[in-house]
């Protein structure tokens, strides 16, 4: 009796949360899959008839937007990596007792409302902004050039808004490195550069892989940055899904497009993990679990 009870304990603990995730994450996915194969309009009603044409139609109509979203998200991820790695490195190895305080400063901006942060960038990049005057004076932007409503602005917004997802995993993996290993490399006459390239960098790879994924995925589906910082030419796939769902109410097309987006992200992630090695991402976790 007690043995049976003991064996049931994990299911009691797991049950409520997992049921919640099944009911409100997995089941909705099924309904969306169904919806993506229906045809009809809001007026006539939608019927399920395996209309795969929703997929081909959405791909041909919005293919270029998909490509654009992935380019923007990829660029933002790359820039975020370039900004985050040295920052995380400095906090992990150079900050001493200021470590926690600096970490706090890095994360704090992301506890202001997401929309407000984006609107702050809209202010900074706007046509009346002093920043634009400086860039114009330096000749980096032509006199009638703009910062707002450009692809650059959207990428800048994406970079900024998802930065903590890059900094924190990299920091966590750098923090975990046993500094004795780096000292050992130096004792064995490795230059600082060699010690970094052959010890620190490979050991921090899991953080880099996790960080790039955590930045890329939300960035690829984002529509807030393109909405506030881009022009009509900079619309991302998220903007289209949102307007198909909420204003045009073409649910089947929107559902099909959502699945295409998710499938493409999954493919990108799988290729990336193959390339980077799943050990790099799941290493520590997999061994422990």
């Amino acid at each position: 009796m007690t043995d049976v009870r003991r064996r049931l304990v994990p299911y009691f603990l797991l049950g409520p949360g997992i049921i919640w995730l099944i009911l409100f994450f997995a089941v909705p996915m099924y309904f969306m899959a169904r919806l993506s194969l229906e045809s009809g309009t809001l007026e006539t009603g939608f019927q399920f008839d395996w209309s795969w044409s929703n997929y081909s139609d959405s791909l041909s109509l919005y293919g270029s937007q998909l490509v654009k979203s992935f380019i923007y998200a990829g660029a933002a991820t790359l820039i975020a990596l370039v900004i985050s790695y040295p920052l995380a490195y400095a906090i992990a190895f150079r900050a001493g007792r200021w470590k926690n305080a600096l970490l706090l400063i890095v994360v704090a901006p992301f506890f202001t409302t997401y929309l407000i942060r984006t609107i702050a960038w809209e202010t900074i990049l706007s046509d009346q902004s002093p920043a634009l005057d400086v860039l114009r004076a330096l000749g980096l932007v032509s006199n009638d050039g703009r910062l707002l409503a450009t692809a650059g602005a959207v990428i800048a917004g994406l970079t900024y808004n998802f930065l903590p997802f890059m900094v924190l995993p990299i920091y966590a993996s750098l923090e975990r490195i046993d500094t004795a290993l780096i000292e050992a490399a130096k004792d064995l006459y490795a230059s600082s550069r060699a010690a970094f390239l052959r010890v620190t960098l490979p050991l921090s790879a899991p953080g880099v892989v996790a960080g790039t994924l955590l930045t890329f995925i939300p960035a690829a589906g984002d529509y807030v940055n393109a909405f506030f910082l881009g022009s009509t030419n900079n619309k991302m796939i998220g903007n289209t899904i949102q307007s198909l769902y909420l204003s045009q109410r073409d649910y089947p097309a929107a559902a099909a497009l959502s699945f295409v987006l998710m499938a493409l992200i999954m493919i990108a992630v799988v290729i990336y993990i193959r390339f980077a090695g799943s050990e790099a991402l799941m290493g520590e976790e997999a061994k422990r679990a």
């Binding site: 994450f25 400063i105 506890f111 997401y114 960038w121 994924l213 998220g238 899904i241 992200i265």
Partner: protein
């Protein structure tokens, strides 16, 4: 030459300092523009300093309603998702059972799903069932996307957990339930607090999923989005500043609490040393699967 050497040695630090400045610029802009006195409806250019909007921060009824909705929603979502998530984390770390891999997958996958897709799929389901979106659907959605983050946060703490304290309690005759309340829970409390803060922040900040599943209910981010076209009232900047300061206080508090927890934990090795000295036989390491 000497300047060059100094520069090379400190390049990383200088770079990091610049990155931090970059991170803080938008926050500075928000705080700065909360004192602005714009002439038109749009708060985009600096006109002049005023404290008016700080004094009238809570004088817009629509904004107040949106804030109240957001706070209530975040509180409820935090409460439920922290409880459910902590239970899942306990099950995953402490037990071996059938369906463990599937559960792990089900927890990771929502974090890897773009928010638009998550919001759209939930709306699809509500539409098919003929459920009118509103506060309840928002609450369902927020709990759903918070759970995974709570699990991940609490699990990381549980993995490094010293089980000998629990065994000691049980050797002294504590029932499993008493052991959990008196030993386990206090020890993982910092992680639970951190997880609930994260859940609260995620919920109060959520725009995308909420935009799909709100119906006519307006949360704080949805209010901002709606106002963006007409011009955002300066009061929003004031409230954003206040929220920012509140989170700083909350975070400083958790860091301080965690420090205290580590300091308390640091006192243990000495005790172990004295035990060993007294010849107490060491406990055999507990097998991972042994449940409490």
């Amino acid at each position: 030459m000497r300047a060059w050497k100094w520069l090379r040695e400190h390049a990383v630090n200088i770079y990091a300092a610049l990155a931090i400045v970059y991170l803080l610029i938008p926050i500075a802009v928000i705080i700065w523009f909360s004192f602005n006195d714009p002439t038109g409806k749009f708060n985009f250019t600096w006109v002049g300093f005023t404290l008016d909007h700080w004094q009238s921060a809570f004088s817009l009824p629509d904004l107040n309603d949106a804030l109240r909705t957001s706070l209530g929603l975040a509180a409820l979502a935090t409460l439920v998702s922290t409880a459910l998530g902590t239970m899942i984390a306990l099950a995953l770390v402490r037990y071996q059972f059938f369906g463990r891999r599937t559960s792990n997958f089900l927890i990771v996958i929502p974090m890897a799903t773009p928010e638009v897709v998550m919001g759209a799929s939930l709306l699809s389901m509500f539409l098919i069932y003929g459920i009118t979106p509103g506060f309840q659907t928002l609450l369902i959605a927020h709990i759903m996307f918070c759970i995974s983050f709570v699990v991940v946060t609490v699990r990381s703490r549980l993995i490094g957990f010293d089980r000998s304290l629990e065994e000691a309690a049980q050797d002294l005759g504590a029932t499993p339930l008493v052991t959990f309340w008196k030993v386990t829970l206090p020890l993982i409390m910092p992680a639970i607090v951190a997880a609930s803060l994260l859940a609260f922040a995620l919920s109060i900040d959520d725009f995308v999923v909420s935009n799909f599943n709100s119906g006519t209910t307006v949360t704080f981010p949805l209010f901002i989005f709606g106002a963006a076209q007409r011009g955002i009232p300066v009061e929003v900047y004031v409230i954003a500043t206040l929220l920012f300061m509140a989170t700083i206080v909350a975070m400083v508090f958790t860091v301080w609490q965690q420090r205290r927890a580590t300091r308390l934990a640091a006192m243990r090795p000495e005790q172990e040393a004295t035990e060993a000295f007294a010849g107490t036989p060491a406990f055999p390491p507990a097998p991972g699967a042994a449940g409490g």
